[in-house]
């Protein structure tokens, strides 16, 4: 039963090799979907290209359905999976800062790595900026620490927070995705085309 490495069904020595293989697949799919282009990524904020919304939302729906289905069939124990912890205000403020960075720079860290790999110099500068940002955070850590470690709600899921039935939530989440795709196509038709 999965997850395989934490349950010692695959020896730990394979961990880093698997990391590289997963990374290659991740980078290949991102680049092939056009995520090495900042102008394509930024399109989602101006309505001329909704690739980010479509790729991101499809991936979220597919992965959450797959993980819960594998748990239902008994191949994967969902309780053993790492759940990203919830620090309420750190998640909101960190996310808000990232949002401004996204429109200003046109990349997020994963997509900037893809653009670095194919020689986009703006992405090299962007990654350099990320390193500076992390450096600033670390140097100001004592000042930011109360926000960073405050309002810790645990490694909770939406199921814990709202007491929802996960299967119904995933079903509704998928419907929302389909509606979002339809709205995106409608908006894109109305917006002036941008070539890049």
């Amino acid at each position: 039963m999965g997850p395989l490495i934490p349950n010692h069904l695959i020896p730990l020595e394979w961990n880093n090799i698997i990391a590289i293989i997963i990374g290659i697949a991740f980078g290949f799919v991102l680049e092939a979907s056009g995520f090495s282009s900042s102008r394509k990524l930024a399109g989602v904020f101006y309505g001329y290209d909704f690739a980010v919304l479509k790729v991101f939302f499809t991936a979220a729906v597919v992965s959450v359905i797959g993980i819960y289905y594998m748990d239902y069939l008994g191949y994967l124990d969902i309780t053993q999976l790492y759940v990203h912890p919830t620090y309420l205000w750190a998640a909101i403020i960190g996310g808000a800062i990232m949002g401004v960075g996204f429109v200003a720079g046109g990349f997020c860290p994963g997509t900037s790595l893809c653009a670095v790999a194919i020689g986009k110099l703006d992405a090299w500068i962007y990654v350099f900026g990320i390193l500076i940002g992390i450096f600033i955070f670390s140097e100001l850590y004592n000042f930011i620490e109360p926000l960073f470690n405050g309002d810790f709600l645990g490694n909770i899921t939406l199921i814990d927070t709202f007491n929802w039935n996960p299967y119904w939530f995933i079903f509704i989440f998928s419907i929302i995705a389909i509606i979002a795709f339809a709205v995106a196509d409608f908006v894109q038709k109305k917006v002036k085309k941008v070539f890049y």
């Binding site: 999965g2 997850p3 934490p6 880093n16 997963i22 697949a25 991740f26 290949f28 799919v29 991102l30 680049e31 092939a32 102008r39 101006y46 690739a51 479509k54 790729v55 991101f56 939302f57 499809t58 597919v62 993980i67 994967l76 999976l81 790492y82 990203h84 912890p85 620090y87 998640a91 960190g94 996310g95 808000a96 800062i97 990232m98 949002g99 401004v100 960075g101 429109v103 200003a104 720079g105 990349f107 997020c108 860290p109 994963g110 790595l113 790999a117 194919i118 020689g119 900026g129 990320i130 500076i132 940002g133 992390i134 600033i136 955070f137 670390s138 930011i144 899921t157 939406l158 890049y196």
Partner: protein, 175 residues
């Protein structure tokens, strides 16, 4: 390849790319019990750099200290290997499609210099935000949403919500 005349870059259907990305996330959780990431490798790089240049400073800083280990380099982590893979994978895809070249991509309405300045500002903000929220679009939002993490959903909404709210002020750079 008629589209090449109008738009040099022909990419995958986004639903196809998104489906494959979803499969990769399932596979990653199935094998390792954790999700994907991107900013983690950059954090390891900063920690390693500071630890090499100013080791005493790094040891006196409460944040760097948590990632420094006497026996092992901070670069020897899962996320660093994964990020190396991302570079290889993107290079393969870009190479197969003839997209590899040194260039600065920007809207014809702005200069290269302006693009680079905004790229730098964007990077600094994203790096800072990703540390505060303990992950970026990959680690917090995408991998968090795959297991329905409340924090992952909050971070995702905060990123896209703020980006839409502030997009107006940056419109000259893109449209």
């Amino acid at each position: 390849m008629k589209n090449n005349q109008e738009n040099k870059h022909v990419y995958w259907n986004p639903y196809y790319g998104g489906f494959l990305l979803g499969i990769i996330i399932i596979f990653t959780f199935y094998i390792t019990g954790r999700g994907l990431g991107a900013s983690g490798a950059m954090k390891s790089s900063v920690v390693t750099l500071v630890d090499t240049v100013a080791p005493t400073h790094a040891e006196n800083n409460a944040y760097y200290k948590t990632f420094i280990n006497e026996e092992d380099s901070p670069m020897n982590t899962w996320l660093v290997y994964e990020a190396l893979g991302v570079l290889i994978g993107a290079f393969l895809s870009g190479g197969l499609n003839g997209r590899i070249s040194w260039r600065i991509q920007h809207s014809p309405k702005i200069t290269s210099k302006r693009r680079l300045v905004f790229a730098l500002i964007g990077g600094v903000l994203f790096g800072l935000g990703a540390q505060i929220a303990r992950g970026c679009t990959s680690g917090a939002a995408l991998s968090g949403m795959a297991v329905l993490s409340t924090g992952g959903f909050i971070t995702m909404l905060a990123i896209f919500g703020t980006a839409y709210l502030t997009a107006y002020f940056f419109r000259k750079n893109w449209i």
